[in-house]
């Protein structure tokens, strides 16, 4: 390597490194703060000072004890909602995406345009009428109310359509010759070869569900029914003195995802980027 090349390598790594450090900074500071009384952060903000002798695990104890373990209830709610949402979302969006990709029928292009339309309209515009609708179904404060308006995720349909388009049609033909019905072909022959797509979509949908805030905040009214993001947000009230749980709770809500991410970085990145399978 020439001197110039070494210099450029140091410079390049340094530039990227600075951005990487900034990207990780919030985790570092919240993690450090989670060992100190929450009121300190609320009053003084996050500071660049480390008084390790005052650190304790008190905040982490609150995860089990605060209001009879309300935090663990939020955790369970988040997991249940995520599992239902991902399972149903995968099932329906793969069904539709496959149908759009592998059959030629009247209305196919129209349906695809409608999928694109749903993808392009921010759901935030619809929160009010959706709320009224879910209310009229008597589904306020239920898991069903959270999941139902997103039961056929358009991004998923789009993704599965793209993926299925690239699969060989001969498999379907040979399935038909073997006497398989159209649904048998889908469930027995196509689903297994679509596994990579299911993997990527699982991550995208699961992350969306785990972190979603606005819609669950509207539907889930009582504290016992809430998910992690809204539960934690509710600790920030000016009247509350639950700031200690806020910090340990935030750390614990993101820790499992970090671990899973670090173990499967490639799959994760591919999954999160799956929304962009364009062109």
């Amino acid at each position: 390597m020439t001197k110039k090349k070494i210099g450029l390598t140091i410079l390049g790594t340094l530039v990227v490194g600075i951005f990487a450090v900034v990207a990780l900074m919030p985790f570092f500071f919240l993690f450090i703060s989670s060992f100190k009384p929450g009121s300190e952060m609320i009053r003084n903000g996050l500071q660049f000072k480390f008084d390790f002798e005052n650190y304790s695990l008190v905040n982490y104890g609150l995860i089990k004890t605060e209001r009879d373990g309300i935090y663990l209830k939020w955790y369970v709610n988040s997991i249940v909602i995520m599992v239902i949402q991902v399972a149903l979302g995968l099932f329906f969006s793969s069904l539709v995406g496959y149908g759009l990709a592998k059959y030629r029928f009247k209305g196919r292009n129209l349906i695809f345009v409608l999928v694109l339309m749903v993808m392009m309209v921010p759901v935030e515009i619809l929160i009010l009428p959706l709320y009224k609708e879910i209310n009229s179904f008597s589904m306020i404060d239920t898991y069903a109310g959270v999941v139902l308006p997103f039961i056929v995720p358009a991004t998923g349909v789009f993704f599965f359509r793209q993926f299925a388009s690239g699969l060989p049609t001969e498999i379907m033909e040979s399935g038909r010759i073997d006497g398989c019905g159209e649904f048998g072909i889908f469930f027995r022959l196509m689903m297994p070869i679509m596994l990579p797509a299911y993997g990527a979509m699982t991550i995208l949908l699961a992350m969306g569900s785990w972190n979603s805030m606005v819609w669950p905040m509207i539907v889930l009214r009582t504290s016992e029914m809430q998910t992690l993001p809204i539960g934690l947000q509710s600790l920030l009230t000016p009247y509350g003195n639950n700031y200690d749980l806020l910090l340990s709770g935030a750390v614990m809500s993101v820790l499992p995802i970090m671990v899973i991410f670090l173990l499967n970085q490639k799959t994760f990145i591919a999954g999160m980027a799956a929304g962009s399978v364009k062109g």
């Binding site: 951005f19 903000g45 149908g99």
Partner: protein, 305 residues
């Protein structure tokens, strides 16, 4: 399904072949009608009505749209537009630059940096909001104030003034999405033929010219895609502002966005009519942008096969 029913009925099978696609796609069609068309129609109708809470609506023509012309809504539209503009201004070129850098031989251990930059995308807005709220605390000893203190800038009450509030929100957005956009660009960069660079180098093109005439045209579809999602995300931003202020309303409406306006009018004040009029206005804006975008990229035509 039995294996030897070939001769049972050919016709029923052919019929099934015709019906199957409609059954496969039916969930979406039903979903579309119930959770898309119905809510939009109902919003449109409500926007033309005087309605408070769940009381029966009364037709009121364009009254709600006229009421929209207040300072609060103007502030919200202005904020959302400026936010979208500045996030696009940063989140389109910066990740491209970093992606090119990560893809070059001038970064050692690029994989580690890629993962580190991606991690913010995994967090909830609530958790990230905690950091931004308290790192940008008005306390002179807080992170950001002590950082700008290094450059002899006086401590700021970041979330008390409009300009600084939006600096925080733009930084929040850049922090969260930088890594994702880098990943988009990195995968696009793999599709640009390496021979083009070699040929250009032989012809004496310098790094900037290679970037401008080979890289940028090569990743153009991704640039358009990133632009689209940035516009989408920009105009629908709400959760970030909500977590910073812990409310849809902010003192002096400095943190108002179009969606927080809809939320506050609808859920805090029960002005469903005005909230719906704001929703329809936003929808119209989004639709116009999308139609322009569809005209340029033509996804249906190209992806038909």
């Amino acid at each position: 399904m039995p294996k030897h029913d070939n001769n049972i009925s050919r016709t029923s099978k052919i019929r099934m072949l015709k019906v199957a696609p409609y059954i496969f796609t039916a969930p979406f069609v039903i979903y579309f009608l119930v959770f898309f068309i119905y809510p939009i129609t109902s919003t449109f109708w409500t926007s033309l009505c005087q309605q408070v809470g769940f009381a029966p609506p009364k037709y009121a023509g364009l009254a709600n749209y006229k009421l929209l012309m207040d300072d609060y809504f103007k502030m919200a539209v202005q904020n959302s537009t400026l936010y979208t503009f500045f996030t696009c201004l940063i989140l389109i070129p910066l990740p491209l630059f970093l992606a090119v850098l990560l893809d070059s031989k001038f970064v050692v251990r690029a994989e580690i940096f890629k993962s580190a930059l991606f991690i913010p995308a995994l967090t909830s807005v609530v958790m990230a909001g905690l950091f931004f709220k308290y790192a940008f605390s008005s306390n002179p000893a807080a992170l950001m104030n002590s950082f700008i203190g290094l450059f002899h800038i006086a401590p700021q009450g970041w979330l008390e003034k409009r300009t600084t509030t939006w600096i925080v929100l733009v930084l929040f957005c850049v922090w969260k999405w930088l890594g994702v956009n880098i990943v988009y660009y990195l995968s696009a960069l793999q599709t640009v033929p390496k021979e083009l660079y070699e040929a250009a180098t032989i012809d004496g093109a310098n790094a900037w010219n290679r970037f401008r005439h080979i890289t940028v045209p090569g990743v153009k579809p991704t640039i358009i895609y990133v632009l689209t999602i940035s516009i989408y995300g920009g105009f629908s931003m709400f959760a970030e502002a909500f977590t910073l202020f812990n409310s849809a309303r902010t003192p002096g409406d400095i943190g108002a966005t179009i969606v927080s306006y809809i939320y506050a009018q609808g859920f805090n004040r029960n002005n469903f009519g005005i909230a719906s009029a704001a929703g329809i206005t936003l929808l119209a804006g989004v639709m116009i942008i999308n139609i322009i975008q569809l005209k340029i990229t033509d996804p249906v035509g190209k992806r038909n096969d």
